[in-house]
């Protein structure tokens, strides 16, 4: 009994686990159950049960209700679909002037709005793209195709690659200094020489449209949330879900509303990029000291002046970190939205991966990674840059960068003209190196892959077989044995023990949503893959982080490595694993592990680093050994922060598992991929995405509640 009093939580947990396992054993998997068959599909089968709700028929395979709840939410995707269809095609028909046919046409309002947005976005993207690459579409937008064919000179010439490269270097110099300038120049030259110029500029123009728009919307919404509690409360759940929703699940509804192509991709990128901007704006504005605000008010600022002259400039750094986030999200979306037909590097990567041409994929991936690092470093440099005072500078000092850029434009133009005389036949390499005319290393890499396969095939194959048959299959089977009721009990119980009734209700509701959706078993598979990845990532991250933390140089080195790896869009990670392990579950899992190890390592290091130095000294003076200090002081204190890392690791792992569907897995991701090619996939994609987000949020809620209590207990912040 004393033991019970001493560790009440421990016994609660034990009791919960006993109940859970008892339920698992008591409820057997029905014999008729077949995993692969989807349960809410429109295949008519006499074995199916069905029910009708809101006039929609939902068909499903009935099983023992304890084992698998009937998909009572099965109508939701259908209903969303019909809702979207109705909005788009039938709701509020109005008269609109059609300039192409010169007459009024009746069109539903939403369709017209979506068309207008589409046209606007397309124009913006084309405009920037043509500044970089040249073309006639912008002129056409203002005049007509006839005008362009009549006057062949009427087109945007596009900037020679030399000018863009010089521009990037000068901008980098202005933001940070020589080092970054050289890096920027080299990246641009690399892109050009290796023939990736056109797709890279397409991707860049995509970002140049998406990022500023996301910034403006994010900033305004953030300010609104700061001003009004009500707006904040309304935004908060959306922000939470968007943070854990796999980016690629939102592609599907966007496709339904806006179709396929760059414009749809830009819009959906904004949807994904705005939430972090809102969050960071809020954090920044909250961080402005109240006295500064009062000083502004006492200086007689109106509300608008207070915002633009006091609040935003003072919160500048956080807001610019938000810009950095926006750019990185935009970039990562630019790659993923290749799935809905956005042009650029992502598109090339997708094609190459589809053809299993690892060499080409690797080239595109390298370009993506280099541009990602460059954009990340430049925007961070901007955030950390302190404003200079230009009070007593000479004309030259003040306009140095502009002058240099002017010079670069001049020289670039001259070079391009010389080039046009020199390379009379074929391509003007000083203007633009065409896609397939640069130096290509694809063959080399392909040969390398072949060589690896030839040499190590036996071992890789053996490892692969071992992993799949001995580890993955049994683990998956175990997860699939989890009856819905038992899982619900486990999750609610855990919520109750950790955070009381409130937490229990939240996580219970989230789990119930997934359990009532038609994809319970898929969600289990997703969870199994994520768990496998998270366990291994955390082990690696924990060990590596702890080892690196012992020394200042290795710490900084490791954090730098994490920074760089984190900038890569998740999709890129699939390239090397496919190179080594081909198209199997193993590839996905290894990509998951590599990707999810980043936050695990980072948070371990940061957690250990956050232990106050005074405690180190105190411990050393009490005569502890290094190991004692690590285990008795540093780990317990750093543990809450490390748990936040676990949180991030889970989110990263889930993202990767979902993207892994591209290689071929049998989880929620696979259905999302299917929904992408399904005309009526909008609702399904959205609900599937929400399911994944909810898996993440269940863990998020439990971990966060625990961390907060633990921190309070330890008296940290």
């Amino acid at each position: 009994m004393e033991l019970l009093k001493k560790y009440p939580k421990l016994f609660q947990w034990l009791f919960l686990l006993i109940v859970f396992f008892a339920l698992c054993f008591a409820i057997d998997v029905p014999e008729t159950y077949k995993f692969i068959r989807g349960q809410a599909e429109f295949i008519k089968d006499p074995n199916q049960s069905f029910y009708i709700l809101f006039g929609k028929e939902v068909r499903y395979y009935a099983f023992d209700n304890f084992w698998r709840l009937p998909p009572l939410l099965g109508w939701l995707p259908i209903w969303i679909n019909d809702g979207l269809f109705f909005l788009l095609n039938e709701w509020m028909p109005m008269e609109f002037w059609d300039s192409a046919t010169q007459e009024y046409k009746t069109r539903p309002l939403v369709l017209q709005i979506s068309r207008n947005i589409t046209a606007f976005m397309t124009f913006l993207i084309e405009f920037i793209r043509e500044i970089l690459l040249g073309g006639v579409e912008t002129i056409v937008a203002f005049t007509s195709w006839n005008f362009v064919s009549a006057y062949p000179w009427a087109k945007l010439p596009g900037l020679p690659w030399t000018i863009v490269a010089a521009g990037a270097a000068i901008l980098a110099y202005k933001l940070s200094g020589k080092g970054l300038a050289i890096f920027a120049g080299l990246v641009m030259i690399y892109i050009s020489v290796f023939g990736q110029w056109k797709p890279s500029m397409q991707t860049l123009s995509f970002i140049l449209v998406a990022a500023p728009l996301s910034f403006i919307f994010g900033l305004s919404l953030g300010v609104m949330a700061y001003k009004s509690k009500r707006v904040e409360k309304a935004l908060y759940p959306i922000l939470l879900v968007m943070q854990t929703m796999p980016q690629y699940a939102v592609l599907v509804p966007a496709m339904v509303l806006f179709g396929i192509g760059d414009h749809a991709a830009v819009i959906i990128t904004m949807v994904v990029a705005i939430p972090p901007m809102i969050l960071l704006t809020l954090i920044g504005l909250r961080g402005v000291s109240p006295e500064v605000i009062e000083a502004g008010k006492m200086s007689g600022c109106s509300n608008w002046q207070l915002l633009t002259e006091v609040l935003i400039p003072t919160a500048r750094r956080d807001i610019l970190i938000g810009v950095n986030q926006v750019i990185m999200v935009c970039f990562s979306m630019a790659v993923i939205s290749a799935f809905i037909g956005a042009k650029g590097l992502g598109w090339n990567l997708l094609l190459a991966l589809n053809q299993l041409n690892i060499g080409l994929a690797l080239e595109a991936g390298l370009c993506i990674s280099l541009i990602a690092i460059l954009l990340d470093k430049m925007s961070l440099a901007w955030a950390n840059k302190q404003t200079d005072y230009f009070g007593n500078l000479t004309f030259y000092e003040r306009y140095k960068n502009t002058i240099f850029f002017g010079g670069a434009v001049l020289i670039g133009t001259i070079l391009a003209i010389i080039g046009s005389l020199f390379f009379k036949e074929g391509f003007n390499y000083l203007y633009e190196v065409p896609h397939n005319k640069g130096i290509s290393t694809a063959d080399f890499w392909n040969k390398g892959v072949d060589w690896i396969f030839d040499t190590f095939f036996v071992y890789i194959k053996a490892f692969n077989t071992w992993l799949i048959t001995e580890v993955l299959q049994p683990m998956r089977a175990l997860y699939l044995r989890m009856p819905a009721v038992a899982t619900l009990v486990l999750v609610v119980g855990a919520g109750y023990i950790i955070g009381g009734i409130r937490s229990a209700l939240t996580v219970g509701a989230l789990t119930l949503f997934i359990a009532l959706s038609p994809w319970w078993d898929r969600a289990l598979v997703t969870t199994y893959m994520a768990t496998f990845g998270v366990v291994i990532s955390c082990t690696i991250g924990f060990i590596v982080g702890t080892l690196c933390q012992q020394n200042k140089y290795t710490t900084n080195f490791m954090l730098g490595v994490c920074d760089i790896f984190q900038t890569f869009p998740s999709f890129v990670y699939l390239i090397p694993v496919m190179m080594l392990f081909g198209v199997t579950d193993t590839s996905v899992l290894i990509a998951v592990i590599v990707y999810a190890t980043i936050p695990a390592t980072r948070y371990t290091i940061e957690g250990l680093r956050s232990v106050p130095p005074a405690l180190h000294d105190a411990a050393t003076m009490s005569g502890v050994t290094k190991f004692q200090r690590l285990f008795k002081i540093e780990f317990p204190l750093a543990f809450p922060h490390m748990m936040l890392g676990l949180n991030q690791t889970i989110v990263f792992a889930l993202f990767m598992v979902i993207i892994g569907a591209f290689i071929g897995t049998e989880d929620l991701g696979q259905y999302i991929l299917k929904a992408l090619s399904d005309k009526a996939g909008g609702g399904k994609g959205l609900v599937l995405g929400i399911c994944v987000a909810f898996i993440g949020l269940i863990f998020d809620n439990l971990i966060r509640t625990w961390v907060e209590q633990r921190k309070k207990h330890l008296g940290i912040d």
Partner: protein, 343 residues
């Protein structure tokens, strides 16, 4: 008094969701405890006072005494829950947003404890900020700001950023900024509390010099009783939102109204605070010594001279007219004995 620049009539500030209702129900009888049980916190409790033109009122109190809240009610950075506040006869609480901004732009200046400078602007730009907000053209406001830079002795540093300045220098910028629009009313919220003792003393002297020149109407907040004594024309001592005593420094030191106030006055070196006028007796026909002292002299400065006399010393006013007498024993009594007598 009719020339009161600031006038407060039973000002209340109560934090909490239904503060207004509770205040009405309390009917002028606000008890902090009952309010707290109902989830309200009393910040300022029935504050009534006036500040006349050119006067410096120092509000002294420990942290949580409501002194800063009172100041924020008067500058209307927060809205008072009840009572009336008049600024030069204007009913502050009835002002509209626009009128309030107008008032702040022209009549009020405020200095903050943590300086509250804008980190992205230089010293000059910070000082010019209220002028620019007002819409004064850049060249004019920069000239004006430059005058202010000189006034607070920061010439040569006008192009520095706040982060490049020491605490004392930053507060000079804060002071210059609050004075840039030439306000009549000057609010200072613990302006020197964040500074080192030596710098604080230097800044206090500087502040007195400025006030000598500018003659503003001042409300000065501090938690340092010595600072209050040194600067104030009158001191208001606050505790738990209530003004315990409001009087001149000398009267507070001589006659503390409550036990709480007495705790502060006990350790005060009286000879440094009191002037002859505070301790003199009525003029008598007794024969006086040859020494005459002015009634405005601080005791410390003349104590030695008076103590060297045997007879009473005559006290004179500006016109050399005798207005009272001081016996040496009175000086001894005041300096050494007074504390026991009061306790």
């Amino acid at each position: 008094m009719t020339d009161a620049v600031i006038k407060c009539e039973s000002v209340y500030k109560i934090f909490g969701t239904n503060a207004k209702k509770m205040l009405q129900e309390a009917n002028g009888n606000v008890d902090a405890k009952t309010f707290q049980e109902n989830g309200c916190i009393v910040g300022v409790n029935n504050a009534s006072f006036e500040v006349s033109k050119g006067e410096m009122l120092v509000v002294m109190g420990l942290s949580g005494s409501g002194k800063s809240t009172l100041l924020r009610c008067i500058s209307r950075l927060t809205d008072a829950t009840g009572g009336k506040i008049y600024i030069e006869g204007l009913d502050l609480l009835s002002l509209k947003e626009k009128e309030l901004i107008e008032l702040r732009r022209n009549k009020m200046g405020m200095v903050f404890q943590s300086f509250a400078l804008l980190p992205h602007k230089t010293v000059l730009e910070n000082i010019a900020f209220p002028l620019q907000i007002k819409g004064i053209e850049t060249e004019k406001s920069i000239n004006k700001a430059m005058d202010m830079v000189k006034l607070v002795g920061l010439d040569g540093r006008e192009n520095y950023f706040p982060r490049e300045l020491s605490g004392g220098q930053q507060q000079r910028v804060g002071i210059a900024r609050s004075l840039a629009v030439e306000p009549d009313i000057w609010f200072l919220d613990e302006p020197f509390s964040a500074l080192d003792p030596l710098i604080r003393k230097e800044m206090q002297d500087e502040f007195l010099r400025l006030q000598e020149k500018l003659k503003k109407t001042i409300m000065f907040i501090t938690h340092d009783f010595d600072e209050a004594l040194k600067l104030a024309d009158r001191i208001a001592i606050m505790k738990d939102g209530i003004i315990e005593q409001l009087d001149t420094p000398a009267k507070i030191v001589l006659n503390p109204a409550t036990e709480y106030v007495k705790k502060f006055t006990e350790e005060v070196p009286r000879e440094k605070v009191l002037i002859i006028e505070d301790v003199m007796d009525a003029p008598t026909s007794d024969n006086l010594s040859n020494l005459k002292v002015s009634k405005d002299e601080i005791i410390e400065n003349v104590a030695e001279k008076i103590l060297s006399q045997e007879k009473s010393v005559g006290v004179i006013d500006k016109n050399n007219k005798i207005v009272g007498t001081v016996h040496p024993s009175k000086i001894i009594h005041t300096v050494f004995g007074g504390r026991k007598e009061n306790s």
